[in-house]
Amino acid sequence: MAYEVKLKVFEGPIDLLLHLITRQRVDIYDVSLAQITEEYLAAISGLEHPDLETATGFLVVAATLLELKSARLLPGRRGDEEETHLLEERDLLLARLVECSTFREAGAWLARGLEAGASAHGRSAGLEEAFVDLAPKMVLKTTPERLGALAAAALAPRPEPEVDVSHVSPIRATVRDAIVEVAAFLRGRETPAAFRELCSDAAERIDVVVRFLALLELFKAGAVDLVQVDRFGDIRATWTGEAEADEVLADADEYVIDLREAGR
């Protein structure tokens, strides 16, 4: 299925998901988790100038979506514990979506209030001549350095860092290739490897995304164990040797996201 990925500028991983999940569509009942997941991945594959932290935020959400999605595609292969864990993950994501939506609405309300406030001009004519000389000398507790810093801050361009995904960059990496690379990297290591290390030579955001997906494939096949201590913490991977890369490749076929397709 071909999607037209038309995205505004997103401010964060939850913001993006909220957009995908709440936007009005004609075929609203056809929107499935699978589709949202694909669109999400397509969108983040186009992120430019990633820093690892931002990338991680997006990837954590992507991981949850993939986990939820794979649970749907592989029914009955999970125990109760895993099922509960998945539902918890889903609820956490849902809670963050509700929170994000709430603050967004509150922000829109504030915008209306500020706009209304801007149409009432406060009296600011200042002192009449008769009183000017009475006013105490202004305390000038400042230094040339402080003034310089203030002027520099005022004159600096206003920062509005936003993650621009309006541009979907061409895909130069595939999950299949990454599975082989990641497996090669992890196999034979004694200690867990951080996801950061796995991506240390990744030149583009897309490489990071693809390696992350590869890691998930390997995890699902049982070839690696993943540990993530905090929500925003680093992900650590250990090679278990319970599956080999080529088995993963064979098995992964059924639900590997084709980024080339989705990204178009």
Partner: protein, 192 residues
């Protein structure tokens, strides 16, 4: 030039004169000091004045916000006043800025990292913009490098016409309704 009609002007008159002279909100307590009358009396005069300006259909309104009382032009007149106001009064805020502003208004005092936690994305740039616009400010320990806590400024409260953040509508007013949440849940459901 002007013949003084009576012995001493009343509280209302002096309060009005102070309001005309002031170029920022004036606390009722400060007017009370100047007039040597209790703050409560000044407040009662201010409330009466505000009500009478409104009922008389004056071109100005008297409003109380966190920092105090100030005269404003009636918002209805704004279209005719453009010529007398220089510069764009306020550049519009981005969606991200408004979201962070809402977080600070409702959750402040709040640190940068708590804001990032809620939004799932680093928000330092947005925080800086809001500080520059004078809408939020660092409170608490402060100092360069310290983990500042941020809250909304008096200027923000003045522009919103609020006496304190407690006057904001409850956050629950902005939550998505049950149907919308159900819809979100359904779309995230593995068994859909």
């Amino acid at each position: 030039m002007n013949d003084v009609p009576e012995a001493a002007p009343g509280t209302r008159k002096i309060v009005e004169a102070i309001l005309l002279l002031a170029d920022e909100p004036v606390p009722a307590s400060q007017m009370g000091e100047v007039l040597e009358v209790p703050r409560a009396e000044v407040e009662s005069v201010l409330r009466d004045l505000a009500a009478s300006y409104e009922s008389e259909g004056r071109g100005f309104v008297l409003r109380e916000s966190a920092p105090g009382w100030r005269l404003y032009t009636d918002p209805e007149c704004a279209p005719w006043l453009e010529r007398f106001v220089t510069g764009h009064r306020h550049a519009r805020l981005s969606g991200a800025s408004l979201e962070v502003l809402a977080i600070v208004a409702y959750k402040g005092p709040i640190s940068r990292s708590e804001i990032a936690e809620i939004r799932g994305v680093d928000s330092d740039g947005v925080v800086k913009t809001l500080v520059q616009r004078g809408l939020i400010e660092a409170s608490g320990p402060g100092g360069p490098g310290a983990a500042n806590l941020f809250e909304v400024s008096d200027e923000f409260l003045e522009r919103m016409g609020l006496r304190s953040v407690d006057e904001l509508p409850p956050l629950t007013d902005f939550m998505p309704d049950a149907e919308a949440v159900e819809d979100m849940e359904a779309k995230l459901s593995p068994n859909a």
